[in-house]
């Protein structure tokens, strides 16, 4: 297919990176990014961290300055949601009635924060955190002494707990799992991270909500746990994951299964339509459906892979999975799959300000997670991707330079 126009639906990390990579790869045709948000494409991770704390601005979150779009000849159509997609003609319809048409349409719509099933009322004090507007509302709702209940202790719930505590809120974090996050960071690291909350004055409760109690205005004043305990609250944040924004794809007849199904070139079941980022789910060469990633770096890499797919280039070599999370005094980095079967090898100890936890299978490094030692995980990421043989003794020994191990030199 000769592509001379690309319409990117959604200007999050994946959509923005698709546009940027198309230009880097030499594509000279039209590029249009359409986003429901009125803000030019911006970065989401700070929304639960610096931005929520009030120490960053929306300008600083922008992926690029306005001049960049001019220089790269990328059109932005902001402030109107896409309501329909016609794959055969490559047409999207916007809420304002406008139709836009292109040779290729890229669905990069991300996900929507899941709502609490109990939340059926009209309360104004229950929040989710996905957009800059959400972050503004949450920031405005928190002051010293605010009793904030956070439902779900995943990455966003935990980070927000930490930021809110820093803002002076009295935070209670409820999650059915003890410790939470095991599938994401593995058991050993999950335990460490969960224990850290107490040090920030955050109360953690294992359990789930059975009831929300509203006052006459409709706002929630209390939550009841399955244990029977009643928590009096001022604000609630719900952080129980996202559902991929697949409605348009479903209506357009694309293949969808907890994500829009794409091949290794990010092409969907319709040749004119690609999908990328949090909402896309890859069917591997052997026919299996891969787990959908919901991390920044996978969204970025998937944007680049999508641009390559559109231009008919072979996929890039696969880097190992990597992400970070920041909370009170802790910078966590993870490479690889921490929940895969393997043995734990520590470099340093959980009592230290910084340490590394490797997951090793024989001489194969499967995954690594670090607290305040990101260079260790950067090294691990390269070792995992290259399949460099390691020994548990080298990994555990702080005197062994991990960067040298990436080059296969033990010193």
């Amino acid at each position: 297919m000769n592509v001379s126009s690309v319409l990117i639906a959604g200007g999050g990390m994946a959509g923005f990176q698709t546009a940027s990579s198309l230009r880097e790869l030499g594509y000279a045709g039209d590029i249009t990014i359409v986003d429901a948000s009125t803000a030019p494409p911006y970065d989401r991770p700070p929304l639960s961290k610096d931005y929520l704390l009030g120490s960053s601005t929306i300008e600083h979150l922008a992926f690029a300055k306005p001049e960049w779009y001019v220089e790269k000849n990328i059109a932005l159509v902001l402030g109107s949601a896409i309501t329909a997609l016609d794959p055969d003609s490559g047409t999207v319809t916007l809420a304002n009635g406008r139709d836009l048409c292109a040779d290729v349409v890229v669905l990069a719509l991300g996900g929507a924060a899941r709502k609490l099933p109990l939340d059926t009322g009209t309360a104004s004090n229950i929040h989710t955190l996905r957009t800059v507007e959400d972050a503004n509302a949450l920031h405005a709702a928190i002051s010293v002494g605010t009793r904030l209940l956070i439902v779900g202790a995943g990455l966003i719930g935990a980070e927000t707990a930490s930021s809110a505590a820093t803002l002076g809120a009295t935070v209670t974090l409820v999650d059915p799992f003890e410790p939470p996050l095991v599938p994401v960071v593995g058991l050993d690291m999950a335990r460490y991270l969960h224990a850290h909350h107490a040090g920030s004055g955050i109360r953690t409760i294992q359990g789930s909500l059975t009831q929300l109690i509203a006052d006459d205005s409709g706002d929630y004043v209390a939550a009841v746990l399955e244990s029977g305990e009643r928590l009096d609250i001022d604000q609630i944040l719900v952080g129980i994951g996202i559902t991929p924004n697949t409605q348009l794809a479903v209506a357009a007849g694309l293949e969808v299964d907890n994500g829009v199904i794409v091949d290794s070139n990010h092409r969907t079941s319709h040749p004119r339509v690609f999908s990328t980022g949090d909402m896309a789910r890859t069917r591997t060469a052997d026919g299996e459906l891969a787990r959908r990633n919901e991390h920044w770096e996978s969204a970025r890499l998937s944007g680049t892979a999508t641009a390559r797919g559109i231009l008919g280039l072979e996929p890039d070599h696969a880097d190992s999975h990597w992400f970070w999370s920041d909370r009170a005094g802790i910078h966590l980095e993870v490479a690889g799959d921490m929940s895969a079967a393997a043995e734990s090898v520590f470099r340093g100890s959980t009592q230290d300000d910084s340490f590394v936890l490797f997951r090793v299978n024989g001489s194969t490094l499967v995954a690594a997670a670090s607290i305040n030692d990101s260079m260790a995980v950067r090294a691990a990421r390269r070792i995992i991707a290259a399949g460099t043989a390691v020994t548990a003794a080298d990994l555990a020994n702080p005197a062994v330079n991990l960067k040298k191990l990436t080059r296969g030199i033990a010193s």
């Binding site: 990176q17 970065d43 700070p46 992926f63 690029a64 770096e297 970070w324 260079m375 950067r378 960067k403």
Partner: protein, 115 residues
């Protein structure tokens, strides 16, 4: 222009793929300066990543690039140009030369410009 230069290391002090940080209190510059040694060449950039508060001297240095230790934004060591998200602003370069075994930094003089 007044001669503003500092011997910051001896050749061989900084291992390949490593960097040192020169405090702004020493240079009088508006930021600390990271001096990198990569593949036989010296480079210098402002130390504080243009994206979030992190020290590039603690970053991953390889193939003429430094990757920030916080969120992995990447910069070209020679030009300071931003190469990868989440950073979106270039880093300022400083001239650094090797003379008779001295690694000499010219704070405020862009790389490639003769002091």
């Amino acid at each position: 222009m007044s001669e503003n230069k500092f011997v910051v290391a001896q050749d061989g002090d900084i291992e390949d793929g490593e960097a040192i940080k020169i405090d702004r209190a020493i240079t009088g510059a508006d930021d600390d300066i990271a001096v990198f040694f990569d593949n036989g060449e010296y480079f210098a950039l402002n130390d504080t990543c243009s994206h979030a508060t992190a020290s590039l001297s603690e970053g991953w240095i390889e193939n003429g690039e430094v990757e920030c230790p916080m969120h992995s934004g990447r910069f070209c060591l020679a030009s300071g140009e931003v190469l990868s998200m989440p950073a979106s602003e270039n880093m300022r370069t400083h001239r650094v030369v090797l003379e008779n075994g001295d690694v000499i930094l010219y704070p405020g003089v862009p790389a490639g410009v003769k002091a």
